[in-house]
Symmetry: C2
Subunit: 291 residues, 2 copies
């Protein structure tokens, strides 16, 4: 008789700290503000199942021009611009729940402090991303800029200037490699270079742990949307190390024959995969393995 | 008839800004404080001819235990420790002339500010060098350290710690390459890395200009002591590009046949070569070329 295989769930599977916190705040809001209209400024997360579930509780995505007043509005984990935050605070009939990720909030504070202290502030990030739109709004346009690559750094940064002071930070989801590349180049600048490593390690930690699991198990499940870039990347990293790796969206995708004769089944999930979806898969897997 | 060759003297030949300033202050001291005993804490520069010349004016090197009082004492360009500066200031019969290089002074201030602000201060430098002894004295021993290479950085800097704040600077004569190497490695540390590029560009600028001259002239003279490491390096860089490069110590080393048929004669000099020695060589060279 075969011994039942062990199930190993990655600690880093699914939501990062900031998203987990935002979804928790959204779920708690109807209990905290009963009878009030509650909305989120845009979908709280790019996962339709989570948005549908919250809508059923009365927490609905909206846009700035349609915020129900009186009511409660939730700011998403990647934050908003300083101007918008000020505007919302001034509306007398609106209660704000700030679910801005604390790591993003810290980056906003760095931009504000460094810009007002007269540093040339460089933010590595995607100019169109809401997090970056929020970050740059905290700086003076005269000394704050977003760059996507080394080529975006103005050439005059590298000509010798007296007492140049540069502050460097990054959108929390940028790659450490790009950050290092730009920071290293800026070391050539005379004066002071103040590097704030604001990159969140959630993604890289999730990938590292998935790799470790794939190397330690003989079957691997990666849970997440087929259109989720970070889930696909997790699956690729696992598949490279363990051919018996499977990308599934829900428990319906599980095939009992995958687990025949296996010793250890590893599980990880993309950044937008909610915990309850992971839990459902684990429960179904336990049922399959017992039968 | 041959046209007389052009003489091109490097702007960066000889003393750097800080040494030039210190020697000037030492030369002015006997006029500013007539009749007083004037000493320098150690030789003002590692050039016996300059020290001898100053001694003749009454400015003599001494050590801490033999400073004549009442009198005037000159602090050399690479500075002294905070404790020693405080002690000297407290002596009622002593007048201090602070010839600390302003770039070194700035580095001392950075160590003091960063250490008292709670940063982990890392100074790249030679632990036994007087400039470095001065620099480290401005920091709290609990959070200030000198490293000579990446291997000296404590391993626990690279383990994830909350809100680590590191300030990095270098002895003014360190190589940019080593600074970049250590700074790049520290970028992996979570938190804030504050890089102060305190490296003086005098040496690298002097080398770059010597190379440019060697490539533009058909004869090159490098003036400086045979035992001066930086002079020898200048000579090597020139010789690699122009075989008709000559290393001389004084005007006595000039050979008229070197200049026969030349169009342009370039001149540079090591960091400890005084201006009057360069002037003497140029004058003698002009005499040779005319005859």
């Amino acid at each position: 008789m075969n011994k039942q295989p062990r199930i190993r769930i990655a600690d880093t599977a699914g939501f990062c700290f900031g998203v987990k916190r935002a979804v928790k705040l959204a779920n708690e809001a109807p209990h905290k503000y009963p009878g009030q209209q509650i909305s989120t400024l845009g979908p709280i997360i790019h996962n339709p199942q989570v948005v549908t579930q919250l809508s059923a509780l009365g927490v609905k995505p909206t846009d700035l021009n349609h915020v129900p007043e009186p009511g409660v509005v939730i700011i998403r984990s990647h934050g908003i611009t300083r101007e918008l935050a000020q505007e919302l605070k001034q509306r007398p009939d609106l209660t704000l729940i700030d679910a801005t990720c604390p790591f993003v909030r810290r980056a906003q504070e760095i931009v504000a402090e460094m810009s007002s202290a007269g540093y040339q502030v460089i933010i590595i990030g995607e100019p169109d991303h809401p997090e970056v739109a929020g970050l740059i709004s905290y700086g003076d346009p005269q000394n704050t800029q977003v760059v996507t690559s080394l080529a975006d750094i103005p050439a005059d940064f590298f000509t010798e200037r007296k007492s140049s002071r540069i502050a460097l930070l990054a959108q929390t989801t940028q790659s450490q490699q790009l950050y290092n590349e730009i920071a290293s180049a800026l070391l050539a600048v005379k004066g002071e270079l103040r590097c704030f490593n604001t990159i969140c390690t959630a993604t890289s930690n999730r990938q590292s742990e998935a790799i470790q699991l794939a190397e330690a198990c003989d079957c691997m499940l990666i849970i997440g949307g087929r259109n989720s870039a970070n889930t696909n990347r997790l699956y690729e990293l696992s598949k490279e190390r363990l051919p018996d790796s499977y990308h599934i969206e829900t428990l319906a995708d599980l095939h009992p024959e995958w687990f025949s004769g296996k010793q250890a089944i590893g599980i990880s999930a993309g950044a937008s995969t909610p915990q309850w979806l992971i839990d459902e898969v684990v429960e179904q897997l336990q049922y399959i393995l017992k039968n």
